[in-house]
């Protein structure tokens, strides 16, 4: 009859259990990793590290934006030790705001230039661990139904036949889409770049909230063309989706997946061990095995065969320092909001 | 010899009945004055009725005794003990609600056993007490019924049994008869009075029905506009109303204008139209006064007395009711039903019996 109160009493008792059994991660011999790549990649990475060093890892997986917000909110009393993976912008922002720790790893010499550049531009606070180029993918079935030629360049996406057939995320919410905005501005110059985006606007059926969503929509045929990072498209293609990834002929921008030690970590030594480990070729090879097709930053890491070959893609010289800064970002987004997003179609 | 629950229950005779005393108790809701500096005492073992029209503050007064409302000012004493700040739970007072407030999810016996069981009496003992009390109110055999399967009168008795089972110092009734039909009312009210006298209970009883009040009460407290208008035995109230309001509210008095002449001792000569009566003056000075004349204190004859004309007539079996037009106004008159019928339009002589007429103090 008084189920409610009895249940509440039981609940209260078990709440106490929850409270006590909650182990802090600050104990010696254990580090807390915020992982911002896919779960399948996070887990084997953690296993390998534990095996290699004997240090226990408490791992939490969150997207890079969420992790950034969390680290910022926790700044007064950091709970994490290291932030591994995720697109470079929020790492740069954290570096800019002093949320991450400077560190120079002995493995630095083995890295590609772009990874080291990320490190220098952030004054040693974040380093590149992989990179992925921006591109677009089309649904082969849809394209055939419409009888269209395969698009090869950014310019091809303006074709009137693709009206309402292109999908990309909203740069206000997605780092991917912001990379597109910055890429177009860098390739074409700001004025022409915005003209291009205004013209593209007529062909956009939807600005999605999430950056990778257009890849999925393309695989389902919900849109004919989707603009995302190419490794997201490759994941769909490997899964058997009728689509093809394209590296645009004018050249394209890219992201640098990064890693930062969280400022105020209670376990600096452990964090540094992870840092060094994550830059090793052995650790980076785990990505390909976990179906993540980004290009690793250690020169001697074998590149997965499915990965888009960065050597064959015309990469622009992306200015992460300029386009990663908060001020420039705010300005470009405000301009995009005002001049592109609200245009009538 | 000990009954199974003798440790927790006092026998009716030995039960200590308590008095209830209000000392200048006030209850305000915001700017609304519900009870205004009311003082009275209910003696142990008596049934006192709070009588008044709706909105006069009688139910609030009852709820103040129960502890369901807290006094804004003043003190409340039960059995000589100050309970002003005590909650309902902590007062030894039970209440029978107008709606009965029977718990719909419990059977009859569970309802009645509820009080003892929340006091920590073992279930079996509580149910034995409940069964005993149900027998007392004449509901033996209905213990396992659901409350919705009972008639209105039976539900009312369950409510009484539930309130009685704890043998509270004070028992409160909030318009207990309002949901019953006329015939049942009379019986239930007699039962309540009988029970009260048998168990020597202290009872406060709220009603707006003056006949009910007169029938059951040891004393009546008439309330009007959040204050006590008059307190007294039924007879005192009927025969000596302290105000126009009480005279009108109890016993349908005819209010007429008159003139007080000479005062001799306790009595005065009162001139009513062309009649002269000798009545207790009750503090009135010579000059204009108002009289309350009970309808049964007026007699109708062929001629003589005050001249009048029958305006309306109705036959109620036991009595006949007439409205008579006279020089002092329209009078409401009752005469025994066996008397000869008088048809409207007929001229009559109106006479008065002195003991049914009172001078109203101004």
């Amino acid at each position: 009859m008084w189920f409610g109160l009895r249940a509440a009493a039981i609940g209260a008792t078990s709440a106490v259990t929850l409270l006590v059994s909650a182990g802090g991660a600050s104990a010696q011999g254990q580090i807390t990793v915020y992982c911002s790549v896919q779960e399948e990649w996070c887990r084997p990475m953690v296993d390998a590290f534990e095996k290699e060093t004997g240090i226990k890892v408490a791992m939490t997986r969150k997207s890079s934006g969420e992790t950034y917000a969390q680290i910022k909110a926790e700044a007064a009393n950091p709970k994490g030790d290291i932030w591994w993976g995720g697109t470079g912008d929020p790492h740069m922002q954290a570096a800019e705001e002093g949320l991450s720790e400077e560190y120079k790893s002995p493995a630095m010499a083995q890295l590609h230039d772009w990874a080291v550049r990320q490190w220098t531009q952030s004054k040693g606070r974040t380093v590149g661990i992989y990179s992925g180029a921006l591109g677009f993918a089309y649904n082969t079935k849809q394209l055939a139904q419409k009888g269209l030629a395969a698009p090869k360049c950014w310019a091809d996406l303006l074709s009137p036949k693709l009206k309402d057939e292109v999908q990309v995320a909203d740069p206000n919410s997605s780092g991917t889409a912001y990379t597109l905005l910055a890429t177009i501005v860098q390739i074409m110059g700001e004025d022409k770049g915005f003209d291009y985006l205004k013209a593209l606007h007529k062909n956009i059926n939807q600005y999605t909230k999430s950056g990778a969503a257009p890849a999925k929509a393309t695989s389902l045929g919900e849109t004919t063309v989707g603009i995302t990072f190419m490794h997201d498209q490759v994941t769909m293609i490997v899964d058997g989706a009728p689509m093809k990834a394209v590296a645009p002929c004018e050249g394209t921008g890219y992201e640098i997946g990064s890693m930062s030690i969280i400022k105020g970590t209670k376990n600096l030594e452990g964090a540094k061990k992870w840092y060094d480990f994550a830059l090793s070729a052995k650790a980076q090879a785990i990505g390909g095995q976990a179906k993540s097709f980004q290009v690793p930053s250690n020169k001697s890491t074998p590149i997965p065969p499915e990965s888009p070959n960065l050597a064959e893609i015309k990469l622009i010289d992306f200015d992460f320092a300029k386009y990663g800064s908060s001020a420039e970002r705010k300005r470009l987004l405000a301009k995009w909001d005002a001049e592109v997003k609200n245009l009538p179609k | 010899m000990k009954t199974p629950h003798s440790g927790t229950r006092r026998s009716p005779a030995a039960a200590a009945r308590a008095s209830v005393e209000f000392r200048a108790v006030t209850k305000r809701y915001g700017s609304v004055m519900a009870v205004d500096a009311v003082s009275f005492t209910i003696e142990p073992g008596t049934l006192v009725t709070l009588l008044g029209p709706s909105g006069c503050g009688k139910t609030t007064t009852l709820r103040l005794i129960a502890g369901l409302e807290m006094a804004t000012a003043g003190r409340i004493l039960i059995g000589g003990e100050d309970v002003t700040a005590r909650s309902a739970t902590d007062r030894d007072v039970s209440m029978v609600f107008q709606s009965y407030a029977l718990f719909p999810h419990m059977s009859v016996i569970e309802n009645v056993a509820y009080g003892p069981s929340v006091q920590g009496v073992r279930k079996a003992d509580a149910e034995a007490m409940a069964a005993e009390t149900l027998a007392l109110v004449g509901l033996r055999g209905l213990e396992q019924r659901s409350t919705s399967e009972l008639s209105g009168g039976q539900q009312q008795r369950v409510a009484v049994a539930r309130a009685l089972v704890l043998e509270p110092q004070v028992l409160l009734f909030d318009e207990p008869l309002s949901n019953l039909d006329a015939k049942l009312r009379r019986r239930v009210r007699e039962d309540i009075r009988d029970l009260q006298q048998r168990l020597n209970l202290t009872v406060a009883y709220v009603t707006h029905d003056q006949e009910e009040a007169l029938a059951v009460s040891d004393r009546i407290i008439v309330m009007a506009h959040a204050q006590v208008a008059q307190e007294g035995s039924p007879r005192e109230l009927y025969e000596a109303p302290a105000s126009l309001f009480v005279a009108e509210f109890i016993g349908d008095a005819n209010i007429v204008a008159a003139e007080v002449g000479a005062i001799v001792g306790a009595e005065a000569t009162v001139r009513l139209a062309d009649l002269e009566l000798r009545l207790p003056h009750r503090g009135a000075r010579p000059g204009a006064v108002r009289l309350a004349i009970r309808p049964d204190a007026i007699s109708l004859a062929e001629t003589g007395g005050l001249a009048g004309t029958i305006l309306k007539a109705s036959y109620l079996g036991k009595v006949r009711e007439y409205t008579v037009r006279t020089a002092i106004g329209d009078l409401f008159v009752t005469v025994p039903g066996r008397a000869e019928a008088l048809v409207p339009g007929r001229a009559v002589g109106v006479g008065f019996t002195a003991d049914g007429i009172v001078v109203l103090p101004e």
Binding site: Q70, A73 | S87
Partner: protein
């Protein structure tokens, strides 16, 4: 004897306070380190306040003894009730305030209040409150309540004062405190200075309030979008819920049982899944679109992306909540009232229109409010189906975690959203007015519920039937999705997703949960099972206080209970980190913070259900119990709770399920040890692995269905002593 009981309770709390002060570990303990913290007891990490104050380096803790002494004096001295209560209250209030003040003033790294540091100097440090600190704080609170009760508050009822005090303190700590910390960003610029001008500019921004859509093909401000959507969802879900509730209680439909399950399914569905299923059915390449295009030449379109899609998904998701609130109310309407109307020559339709429907108003109003607020706070569906239709919740989410992080913008948008909630709350209150909706009175009322008028029955059936078919197809897709290779593309059956998530191996050490989802699955069930009863108890208790007790500030209190519900989860999540990551209340990384977050986020549904049901129950039932010598606590337990069963079920089910399915708030609060199923699922969805996400969701749905059935059985039906409609017995051949 009853006097001494009250004294005993107060004495008990006083004793608890002394024990907390003198014996228990004062600071937060990390028990994963075992008992090493107690090596130096009573000093050291696990030391008590008294010991650390006298012998350690934390002398400020000693001052806590004075308010405790005051309270002791109040109970020991032969004082009259009033003055004794005043002294007790003084001790409790002083103690509580000083305890909080020292906790906030002295933090991990020294003085947090600079001006105090300037006055006293030095760098004292301390950790978050532990068992001792928390218990003493609670003791001070309850001693204050006991004192106030002695001074005659709430009719001198210590239980009621304590309940109000506790609920208010909890809401202040776990709702107002964190939310205020985040919303403060709205008027504070990045450098930390107060900036009102910036706030005014941001809150009057064109992107929020623009009305361009009225004039041409442009978009309207996000505020209008949200308001439109929330109103449509509020009204729509209430009407659908009503139709379901009427059919489920008042018709002779054989499908009642199915209906009940069906109406509950959507709330037990993890987010994204409904949106995804809708795309697979109504998307441009969806099943329905394909059929229409091939058979009827209806051109394919993307109508699902935008307002229609979100509306559809939210109606699917929130109708069940409306249903659960309304079903209790529909059951509670006294048949006698309807019978009365019938005897007054009212036809069935008139009876329904003039009696039944008006009596449903508290239910309708509460259901609307919940639907409205849920729609505004929902962010999963707009995320998947929003298209170019922006709403506040997604805007806020991306202002917190998006490419352009802007806390002040997030705070401003949250304030706009909150003001809409406030508006809805007042509209609801105005519509309900001061009428009386009591239908369960203490007078046993027999009678049969009036059958539905034909018009209403037909209408309800016409709504319920297609909606049920629609839901069955949505769930068909979802169930299929977890067991085919790739939903929408390759329908080869497979168990691969399920085994990835929930594989169990027989290894050398026996059973091993090898699937990748097991950890989050167990953590989720544990957290949900703890949170649900606490949520229900707190919610219903609050509902009871709101309907049965009168006290100053009741309206503000009521609104406060709605606050956490109305704020988007993202904001709550961040606010919890900001507020509970540092002493004196350091909870991040524990399972408790998840439980607390769920309890205070989902409590409003318990409150609304409780308020709606209690407003039907005659107050004199409670009063009868009180005058029979039952305490308020006993009355709640023995009279109110049994009559509240429908509300209890609603609250339990809802809070259990929401703890298993909510995402946005939780994303910031999960830790390695306490990862939640939904964050795992969202990760899968982000990675495009819908098969795995759906297989996991399907498993959760099954678990939750079992839990709901379990809750129904455990709580049981409410007995109202009413006659049931005669069942047709015997079958004619």
């Amino acid at each position: 004897m009853k006097r001494s009981l009250a004294t005993a309770v107060a004495g008990g709390w006083l004793a608890a306070g002394w024990v907390a002060f003198a014996l228990l570990p004062w600071y937060w303990l990390d028990l994963s380190r075992g008992l090493q913290d107690f090596v130096d007891f009573p000093l050291g990490v696990g030391g008590s306040a008294l010991a650390l104050g006298v012998a350690g380096d934390r002398p400020w803790l000693l001052l806590l003894a004075f308010p405790l002494l005051l309270a002791t004096l109040a109970l020991v001295l032969p004082l009259a009730r009033g003055p004794g209560g005043a002294l007790l209250t003084l001790g409790g209030v002083l103690g509580g305030l000083y305890l909080l003040a020292q906790g906030f003033a002295i933090g991990l790294k020294g003085w947090d209040w600079g001006w105090l540091g300037a006055a006293f100097g030095g760098t004292p440090r301390q950790e978050g409150l532990g068992p001792g600190g928390t218990l003493l704080l609670l003791a001070f609170l309850l001693l204050t309540c006991q004192g106030l009760a002695r001074r005659g508050w709430c009719r001198g009822d210590a239980f009621v004062v304590s309940a109000i005090g506790t609920v208010v303190a909890l809401i202040a700590l776990f709702v107002f405190f964190p939310v205020a910390r985040v919303l403060a960003h709205a008027v504070i610029d990045p450098s930390g200075a107060f900036a009102l001008a910036g706030f005014v500019a941001r809150i009057s921004d064109h992107s929020i309030w623009g009305l361009d859509c009225l004039a041409g093909p442009l978009r309207c401000g996000v505020a209008w979008n949200t308001l439109l959507l929330a109103s449509l969802v509020g009204v729509g879900s209430t009407l659908l819920g009503l139709a379901f509730a009427l059919v489920a209680t008042r018709s002779n439909s054989r499908f009642k049982g199915v209906l009940r399950i069906l109406s509950v399914l959507p709330i037990i569905t993890p987010p994204f899944v409904i949106g995804l299923a809708l795309i697979l059915i109504f998307g441009r390449s969806g099943i329905a679109s394909t059929l229409l295009a091939e058979w009827l030449d209806v051109p394919r379109s993307r109508w699902i992306y935008g307002l229609p899609g979100i509306l559809l998904a939210q109606l699917l998701a929130f109708t069940p909540i409306a249903f659960m609130i309304l079903i209790g109310v529909v059951q509670g309407i006294s048949p006698a009232l309807e019978e009365a109307a019938t005897t007054l020559r009212a036809g069935r339709w008139t009876t329904f229109r003039t009696i039944t429907f008006p009596l449903l108003r508290p239910g309708l109003a509460n259901a609307f409010l919940v639907g409205f607020v849920e729609s505004m706070a929902d962010f999963g569906n707009p995320l998947v189906l929003g298209g170019n239709y922006d709403v506040l919740s997604t805007k806020i989410f991306f202002a917190v975690v998006g490419a352009a992080v802007d806390e002040s913008r997030a705070a401003v948008l949250a304030i706009v959203l909150l003001s809409f909630t406030l508006l809805a709350f007042f509209v609801q209150q105005a519509w309900l007015g001061k009428k009386v909706y009591t239908t369960v009175a203490g007078k046993g009322d027999g009678g049969l519920p009036a059958p539905l008028p034909r018009r209403v029955a037909l209408l309800a059936a016409a709504v319920v039937a297609p909606w049920s078919v629609f839901m069955i197809s949505v769930y068909g897709i979802i169930m299929v999705g977890g067991f085919v290779k790739s939903l929408g593309r390759d329908y080869t059956p497979t168990l691969v997703h399920l085994s990835t998530a929930f594989r169990i191996d027989w290894g050398n050490h026996g059973l091993r949960f090898a699937g990748s989802a097991w950890d989050s699955f167990f953590a989720t069930i544990q957290v949900a099972a703890v949170a649900a009863p606490l949520t229900a108890a707190l919610g219903l208790l609050t509902g009871y206080l709101l309907t049965r007790q009168s006290f100053a500030g009741k309206r503000a209190f009521e609104f406060g209970t709605l606050l956490s519900f109305a704020i988007p989860g993202t904001v709550i999540g961040v606010s919890y980190i900001v507020a509970f990551n540092v002493p004196p209340f350091e909870l991040t990384g524990t399972g408790l913070i998840l439980v607390l977050c769920f309890v205070f986020r989902n409590m409003p549904v318990g409150v609304r259900a409780g308020v709606a049901t209690l407003s039907q129950i005659d107050r004199s039932l409670d009063e009868a119990s009180l005058t029979l010598g039952a305490s308020s606590a006993t009355t709640v337990r023995r009279v109110v709770m049994p009559l509240l069963r429908p509300a209890l079920i609603a609250a339990l089910v809802y809070s259990f399920v929401r703890a298993m399915t909510s995402v946005s708030a939780v994303i910031f609060l999960v830790s390695a040890k306490y990862n939640m199923a939904t964050t795992y699922i969202v990760g899968r969805v982000e990675a495009g692995e819908f098969g795995l996400a759906i297989a996991y969701s399907a498993t959760l749905i099954v678990v939750m269905l079992l839990a709901i059935v379990g809750i129904q059985l455990a709580v049981g039906e409410r007995k109202l002593g009413r006659r049931a409609a005669p069942q047709p017995t015997g079958r004619t051949l």
